[in-house]
């Protein structure tokens, strides 16, 4: 379960700084596919970053599965992130000098979850799961956008995290590929992962179990879709 309490984030700079999040209280159950939507500058990415421990709140608390993320030190935060959170970026962020397979092995290396040989086997399994196993020995630059994002999802799953966060994961993809990627995320949610996805594409948010709308740094609304309860439907309600 994700529990955000009186969460506030102010970025320094300018007069008095910029308030990205203002007193956000939000509780999200585990195992859901949650879409966070809102206009540009509404605080979507900031919220995601705070939940994933990528950034720190100015005030308030962030609890993920009982862990006080806001209170963790840098090293503990890195270790926690590596073991419990998978991050998917809009621009994939695969390391360009490593092969696709090595990219997927990297979190297991940093977190020492598996020895190299076993990590290789697991990485291959994950790539197969996301459908790009045949691209494993290649460098990311030779893959299409969709393939890169699938590989990035495989990498995010490397340490079998309970939480997957994805910031505009389809922002750099065509609509067909984007749908495939979101379907993949939805599948993962059905398998028990909590998936938090920031998007501004209404069509895609329809795949989510729950939609949280942000406006001016506050939660403007929250609703469950017809996809609830978890795993009840394989397709979005509107589809």
């Amino acid at each position: 379960m994700i529990q955000l309490s009186h969460l506030q984030k102010v970025y320094s700079g300018g007069q008095g700084g910029f308030r990205a999040l203002a007193d956000v209280d939000l509780t999200l159950p585990a195992g859901e596919f949650v879409a966070i939507v809102g206009k540009s500058g509404s605080g979507k990415s900031t919220l995601l970053n705070l939940v994933a421990g990528i950034d720190r709140p100015t005030s308030g608390t962030v609890h993920v599965a009982g862990t006080p993320v806001h209170a963790l030190g840098e090293s503990a935060l890195a270790a926690w992130r590596g073991r419990h959170v998978g991050v998917v970026f809009q621009s994939f962020q695969l390391l360009p000098t490593l092969t696709v397979l090595e990219n997927v092995m990297l979190p297991m290396d940093f977190c020492a979850t598996l020895p190299v040989a076993r990590a290789r086997v697991r990485a291959m399994e994950l790539l197969e799961e996301v459908g790009v196993a045949d691209q494993a020995p290649k460098l990311p630059s030779s893959l299409s956008g969709g393939q890169q994002q699938r590989a990035a999802i495989a990498r995010a799953l490397a340490n079998d995290p309970a939480l997957l966060v994805a910031d505009e994961p389809t922002g750099n993809l065509d609509s067909q590929t984007a749908e495939t990627v979101v379907r993949l995320l939805a599948d993962l949610a059905r398998q028990g992962k909590t998936v938090l996805m920031v998007t501004h594409e209404k069509d895609l948010s329809a795949w989510a179990d729950r939609i949280v709308t942000l406006a001016d740094g506050r939660v403007a609304g929250q609703r469950q879709t017809k996809n609830q309860p978890a795993g009840a439907a394989a397709e979005p309600s509107h589809a």
């Binding site: 720190r56 840098e74 992130r81 390391l95 000098t97 090595e102 940093f110 290789r120 490397a158």
Partner: protein, 794 residues
């Protein structure tokens, strides 16, 4: 064979290195070159320190030499050997003779030995020919062969104070590491047996009693006390002791020079290593700047800051290790070359060339730890960035620019965007520039001092007689064609005497190093004009006034104008009052008194032992021609010449003594300047890469490639200009420090402080060229990228 699996993070590091090959080579080269210098200097120091023991101390240098006018006989030796604390006593003599070389006479120091087979003090070893020399034969020190133009089997005409001149065969060659090389001293060294003395017209008497103390580590006070005790015991036996000579114990005449040279070179080597470390830091920070987003990604994948820092630290350590491996053999080679060159300066033969293990250990430790220490800051900065900061970074930010920035020119603002990198680059370039300018400034100071030899002396030939001659010889010389002026001076070797005690001087057995003499110019001499450092110069009516040159004054610290001063003249104690101190560059210690006061006390009225002659010669050949004419004239009037040499010899000898130092300085300056240039190149390359996107934006706004290039070059020029100012400021204390160090070494006084405009302009020019070379390529690359290409970068 199965390859060991490499964890992906290390694989990433290896791949990154592959992508940064040129930067990597640059870092490696900088560390390796500096380490080479460190290894060469330390290795040479280790080898030479060991060889001092084998070569100089191996000659068993005398702790003290007692001058006994009546000669050393069996009883003298018996008394000496019975004195407590004395291990060895031996009779010797040294004659200031002359050797005929072609048409000229050259100075020749003749060392007279009682028994070549039983040498126990100031020993030397045969290298060729007969040992011992047959009666009437002479051994020649190996470095004196070119000076005398006579090798083994040759013949040398030798003339002493009392002899007519005899041709002696060169029966053998010897190596005497206790003497400075003959080529540097411009004097021949010969060795004869006592029986050969009558052949030369000299009595077969040895006037020197040389002793060594049982305590090999005895210091000056203990040696002086022991020698004074021996002198007292001899005087109790009715044997007069004229003088005691105690050179600095266990110290070769050129040892201080060697140690100072090596110390200075070592300091510069470590400076170069430090600058290489800075270069590594700038290059690494450039690499990290490109990877900062990847660092952010790795952090989201669970990498901790210490894991990432460990990766990059391992990279720097590995770089250092590779540089160490490359530098160790090269450093060994450098050590051999340097040790060989300095061994020549010391007249040493390197008996073993092995470099001790600790030199390699220090090199290895320095090669790995110095770059690591300097790179720690950029590594820490990059790996401590928060994930969000790292991921959101797009090239160089403008966060570092303060409120003042809008008023600064644009290129300057850009250079200030990365203050840490700017500082590192400026430090690098300023270090190289300061070294470069310092080397040339010190060199100019040295030249200035050497020029003073001529500016303060208005004669070009000096003639010394074995004994004082009637002053009419000056008139005879004055009448020779081409002679402009002649002055007859009083002269006597001397010592600062202590009432009731035998004179103690610091002179080495070659009679030249650390010698001291009294000079008595005529009133109103026109041939010297030394700058007065304190008090005044001599006046005609002075009766007890003495003026010391700065070298002599340095031997008596605390002496003030007006203080009484006891000087020994021909073994007689005389008392003077210090009237002044003058700067006399290029001479050993000297005390100047009026000629009439000198004549009165030395009993040489109407006679002179020294002629200083100004001729109209403008070339060495003409001057040598004049010297020959003077020699002929003096021979006609029967004046026994001890030495006759042109002033130019002094300049040559001075240059020979320290020229290696100036050359080393210049070499070090080039090394450091190269490291600095590489640093600028690296910084500018990075700066351009980071801002590729900005340049694309500029181009969409209408900037031409030339405009972009100009912008980048202007930034580099700003950095270069900033470093030039810093180098100029840094070169001031550095020049002052080196002037003092080298000046004291060569002239017993700091070199004149000169900040030459030439080196400043030259460095500015070099900097300009380096800046252009370092910038044009990345700037052109950036300018030639299409907007679309540029926007997807970084």
């Amino acid at each position: 064979m199965r390859r060991l699996p490499i964890p992906p993070r290390w694989k990433k590091l290896l791949q990154d290195l592959r992508a940064e090959k040129s930067r990597l080579i640059l870092m490696l080269a900088a560390i390796a070159v500096s380490l080479l210098a460190v290894g060469a200097v330390m290795g040479a120091f280790a080898v030479l320190s060991r060889e001092i023991g084998v070569n100089y101390l191996g000659t068993r240098p005398a702790s003290a030499t007692l001058e006994i006018p009546a000669g050393v006989d069996g009883r003298v030796l018996e008394v000496a050997r019975s004195q407590p604390g004395i291990a060895v006593a031996e009779g010797r003599d040294v004659l200031q003779a002359r050797a005929r070389v072609g048409e000229d006479w050259r100075p020749l120091l003749l060392f007279v030995v009682e028994d070549f087979r039983a040498l126990q003090v100031n020993t030397f070893t045969p290298t060729a020919g007969a040992w011992p020399p047959p009666p009437g034969g002479m051994l020649v020190e190996r470095t004196a062969v070119p000076v005398l133009a006579a090798g083994l089997g040759g013949r040398v005409r030798v003339r002493t104070a009392h002899g007519p001149g005899v041709e002696l065969p060169v029966s053998g060659l010897v190596h005497d590491p206790g003497l400075a090389p003959a080529t540097q001293e411009r004097s021949g060294y010969g060795y004869i047996a006592r029986e050969t003395l009558p052949l030369l017209g000299e009595p077969a008497v040895l006037h020197e009693l040389r002793i060594t103390l049982a305590d090999a580590q005895a210091g000056l006070p203990a040696i002086e006390a022991c020698a004074a005790g021996l002198a007292k015991a001899l005087e109790a036996e009715g044997r007069e002791v004229h003088e005691i000579r105690v050179p600095p114990p266990r110290q070769h005449p050129h040892q201080r020079q060697m140690q100072t040279i090596l110390f200075m070179m070592l300091a510069f080597s470590f400076m170069a290593l430090g600058l290489s470390g800075v270069l590594v830091a700038t290059s690494l920070s450039a690499m990290l700047a490109r990877q900062v987003r990847e660092i952010g990604v790795m952090k989201t994948l669970g990498a901790t800051a210490s894991q990432l820092a460990g990766m990059y630290a391992a990279l720097v350590a590995a770089l250092g290790a590779v540089a160490v491996v490359a530098a160790l053999p090269a450093g060994y080679g450098g050590a051999q070359v340097l040790a060989g060159a300095i061994a020549d300066l010391l007249n040493f033969t390197l008996t073993a060339r092995g470099v001790p293990w600790w030199v390699y250990a220090v090199q290895a430790a320095a090669g790995i730890l110095v770059p690591l220490a300097v790179a720690a800051l950029p590594i820490r900065q990059a790996t401590r960035l928060s994930v969000r900061q790292a991921i959101e970074r797009h090239g160089a930010s403008a966060d570092a620019l303060g409120a003042l920035s809008p008023r600064l020119p644009w290129p300057l603002r850009n250079a200030l965007r990365r203050p840490a990198r700017l500082a590192l680059t400026v430090v690098l370039l300023a270090g190289g520039g300061a070294m470069f300018m310092t080397a040339l400034n010190v060199s100019a100071g040295w030249e200035r001092n050497v020029a003073k030899v001529y500016e303060t002396r208005h004669y070009d030939i000096e003639v010394r007689f074995h004994e004082a001659q009637p002053e009419t010889v000056a008139e005879a010389i004055q009448g020779l064609p081409g002679v402009r002026a002649v002055e007859a001076w009083g002269y006597s070797p001397s010592a600062f005497s202590r009432p009731g005690q035998v004179d103690v001087v610091r002179t080495y057995p070659d009679r030249g190093h650390a010698s001291f003499s009294v000079m008595a110019p005529p009133p109103g001499t026109q041939l010297i004009r030394f700058p007065v450092l304190a008090g005044r110069w001599l006046r005609e009516d002075d009766r007890d006034a003495v003026v010391l040159n700065h070298t002599a004054a340095a031997a008596r610290p605390g002496l003030r104008i007006g203080d009484p001063l006891n000087l020994s003249l021909g073994g007689k104690a005389t008392t003077w009052r210090l009237a002044g101190i003058v700067e006399e560059i290029g001479s050993p210690g000297a005390a100047y008194v009026t000629d009439h006061a000198f004549a009165r006390l030395a009993g040489t009225r109407g006679r002179a032992r020294l002629l200083r002659i100004a001729t109209e010669a403008t070339t060495p050949e003409v001057r040598q021609h004049r010297i020959r004419a003077i020699e002929r004239k003096l021979a006609e009037v029967g004046a026994g010449v001890e030495t006759a040499w042109p002033l130019a010899e002094l300049r040559t000898a001075m240059a020979d003594h320290i020229s290696i130092l100036i050359r080393s300085l210049a070499a070090m300056a080039v090394v450091i300047a190269t490291v600095g240039a590489l640093g600028l190149s690296s910084t500018m390359g990075t700066s351009v890469l980071e801002r590729t996107r900005e340049f694309a934006v500029m181009k969409t706004l209408g900037a031409t490639p030339a405009r972009v290039t100009r912008q980048v070059v202007q930034e580099a020029l700003f950095m270069g200009a900033l470093s030039w100012v810093a180098a100029l400021l840094l070169s001031v204390p550095l020049t002052a420090w080196l002037d003092a160090l080298i000046g004291r070494l060569g002239f017993v006084a700091p070199l004149p402080f000169i900040l030459s405009a030439g080196p400043m302009a030259l460095w500015l020019g070099i900097l300009g060229l380096v800046t252009l070379a370092a910038t044009l390529l990345p700037a052109r690359r950036a300018a030639s990228l299409s907007v679309a290409e540029a926007l997807v970068r970084l």
